[in-house]
């Protein structure tokens, strides 16, 4: 970023006062969005914390300060299993998505020559992001179901005799559809950090005798680390708040923290739901902090 102090404008009195003036204008401009975001972020966080200490009641809650909801959460096996399962799914989905999306970004960045074609392929990958995620989940149903297209094709060509039950309402199909539905969050950041790589660095590696594989592993992968971290960050935070894919494609057998929250609030158990919400935020923080060790998001943009 160029700064006024570094490139003084001759016609103006001095670079220093200009910088000060800019800073004052910036503070005025930034006030409105900052107040809005502080309020809209603060409201949900403060209210879930407050209500998580309320006393549960048959139909709702009573004001109070009890640890009951947290004790309930951490002493119930099913809740703890859900917590573990949420992380298990994250540990499976994130590497799977890297494996699925990295080659796409790599192909577009290094093998497609025409800038126009690059743009078209990237747009093809991004367009589904601007359509309804819910509809994309629903659209998987006729493909995956017991009588779905994939089963019909597999039976038609004689690979299997009976419809494969694993295609719908199972963990593998849930994980797979998550990976496809959120792929844009991964392809985008990886591609942008790849496109930033100076081609001369790659050439230098080749001149020094590195094989294509060494170049890939020792040059390209380390230089795309910020993109990978950004992609993982996006997918992780979206995954924590997701409840619909588990229901539609996972069949509701396997639940994650978000499902427990929705379920509790459906039963009007607001203090319990709030406790789950607080747990969700608390367990996300270390992961998010860890990811930020690998990327300075502000500098990447």
């Amino acid at each position: 970023m160029t700064d006024a102090a570094q490139t003084p404008v001759p016609a103006l009195s001095s670079g220093m006062t200009l910088t000060k003036k800019r800073a004052r204008q910036a503070l005025l401009l930034v006030a409105a969005p900052t107040i809005v975001m502080a309020l809209f972020c603060g409201i949900p966080l403060v209210s879930v914390v407050v209500f998580s200490f309320y006393k549960p009641w048959a139909y709702g809650m009573k004001p109070g300060f009890v640890l009951e909801n947290y004790i309930e959460f951490f002493t119930t096996a099913t809740y703890l299993q859900t917590l573990g399962f949420t992380f298990l799914i994250a540990i499976i989905v994130l590497p799977l998505m890297v494996l699925l999306c990295y080659p796409v970004a790599y192909y577009v960045c290094f093998f497609v020559k025409s800038e126009r074609l690059k743009l078209y392929i990237l747009l093809l990958c991004i367009v589904p992001f601007w359509t309804s995620a819910l509809i994309r989940m629903v659209a998987w149903l006729p493909l995956l179901g017991r009588k779905g297209l994939i089963n019909q094709i597999l039976m038609g060509i004689g690979i299997i005799d009976e419809p494969a039950e694993i295609l719908l309402y199972s963990e593998p199909s849930m994980v797979f559809s998550m990976a496809i539905i959120w792929s844009v969050f991964m392809i985008g950041p990886i591609y942008f950090s790849m496109a930033k790589i100076d081609r001369q660095v790659i050439e230098a590696a080749r001149d020094l005798g590195a094989s294509a594989w060494t170049t890939f592993w020792r040059i390209i992968v380390p230089l795309t680390k910020p993109g990978l971290a950004t992609g993982i960050l996006f997918v992780f935070v979206v995954m924590m708040g997701e409840f619909a894919i588990q229901k539609f494609i996972g069949g509701g057998k396997t639940t994650m923290l978000a499902n427990v929250l929705i379920q509790q609030q459906g039963l009007l158990q607001w203090p319990a739901a709030s406790a789950v919400a607080v747990v969700m935020v608390l367990v996300s923080i270390p992961v998010i902090v860890l990811i930020f060790q690998f990327v300075n998001l502000r500098r990447e943009l």
């Binding site: 490139t7 003036k21 800019r22 204008q25 910036a26 503070l27 005025l28 401009l29 930034v30 969005p33 972020c41 409201i43 949900p44 966080l45 403060v46 209210s47 879930v48 209500f51 080659p103 577009v108 290094f110 093998f111 392929i121 093809l124 990958c125 589904p128 601007w130 359509t131 309804s132 509809i135 629903v138 659209a139 998987w140 149903l141 006729p142 493909l143 009588k147 297209l149 019909q152 792929s183 790659i202 050439e203 294509a212 935070v237 979206v238 708040g241 997701e242 539609f248 978000a258 929250l261 929705i262 609030q265 607001w270 739901a273 709030s274 919400a277 969700m280 935020v281 502000r298 943009l301």
Partner: protein, 293 residues
């Protein structure tokens, strides 16, 4: 430019071919479900939500616009997709305007260096970091606590802005960070004050970025459900009606809804794509090309 990547092609021609096939399969995986859904939405009257097709008809589209007919007989979700769609449209347009204006202000401010810019940047990102259902629950409990009824516009707008603003802001920031300041400085040297400089120089150059930000604002709000479901109250937005329709018996009608929502999305993307290319900064005079950014 020389061919810096040619070694890939020479030594690893097969890698290129394998990757090309993979990318085609990947794109098919992205769009395959849409295609299957579109075909099944024309399912015959007696057909179900899977193949084989029992003839073709526009029965399920008709049912969509005239739900009072036989919906109850076959245990289908009734829903009010037309009005829900209108509500979503109004909401998305409002969210788009508010978050784009806020994002433009924030990104313009972030170009200057001031105390607190770092924390403010991360505060904006918190909006997408908090899990969706937590946001929804927190806002819902807040409104409940102070005794305000939940509403599809009033109480839903804040959660949508919380979700769309960070994306709009990131889009604006990436555009602003690739922006050459010398054009603005030239205007200021010629005596324009900062407001005139912004209005006549910065804003026209930024137009494609603003369009991209508006596109994110609109589409993310139009399709949002994880945050909306707990704060919308009794009148549904379109994604909530879709969510409702999937909880009871699934019929090809849901695919008809899906096709229409997808077509709306494509139309919106098309409009913004057109506006973006049409609004790209073009020099008015010959010789000015050299100075454009």
């Amino acid at each position: 430019m020389a061919e810096p990547t040619s070694y890939h092609v020479a030594k690893f021609g097969w890698v290129k071919i394998v990757l090309a096939i993979y990318v085609v399969l990947f794109v098919l995986m992205l769009y395959g479900p849409f295609i299957v859904m579109a075909i099944l939405s024309f399912q015959g009257e007696d057909g179900g939500p899977t193949f084989p097709m029992q003839g073709t008809s526009i029965f399920w589209y008709e049912r969509l616009f005239n739900p009072s007919g036989t919906a109850r007989d076959i245990g289908e979700y009734v829903g009010d997709f037309g009005n829900a769609g209108l509500r979503s449209l109004v909401l998305a347009l409002l969210v788009m305007c508010i978050s784009t204006v806020l994002a433009t202000m924030a990104a313009q401010a972030m170009r200057a260096r001031f105390l607190g810019a770092g924390p403010i940047f991360y505060l904006y990102l918190v909006g997408i970091m908090i899990p969706g259902v937590t946001v929804g629950l927190g806002h819902a409990l807040f409104w409940q606590g102070i005794g305000i009824d939940k509403h599809w516009l009033g109480t839903t707008l804040p959660v949508h802005i919380l979700w769309t603003f960070p994306f709009c802001f990131i889009v604006m920031l990436t555009v602003f960070n690739r922006f050459d300041r010398s054009t603005e400085e030239a205007a200021m040297c010629l005596g324009a004050n900062s407001w005139r400089t912004f209005w006549h120089i910065t804003l026209p150059i930024m137009k494609p970025g603003i369009m991209a930000s508006a596109l994110f604002g609109f589409t993310l709000s139009f399709d949002e459900f994880a945050r909306t479901v707990l704060v919308a109250g009794s009148q549904n937005t379109l994604p909530l009606d879709v969510l409702g329709a999937t909880t009871i018996r699934i019929t090809p009608r849901i695919f008809a809804v899906g096709v229409i929502i997808t077509l709306i999305s494509f139309a919106v993307i098309g409009i913004f794509g057109y506006l973006m290319t049409a609004s790209r900064y073009r020099p008015r005079f010959r010789g000015q090309e050299e100075h454009q950014v």
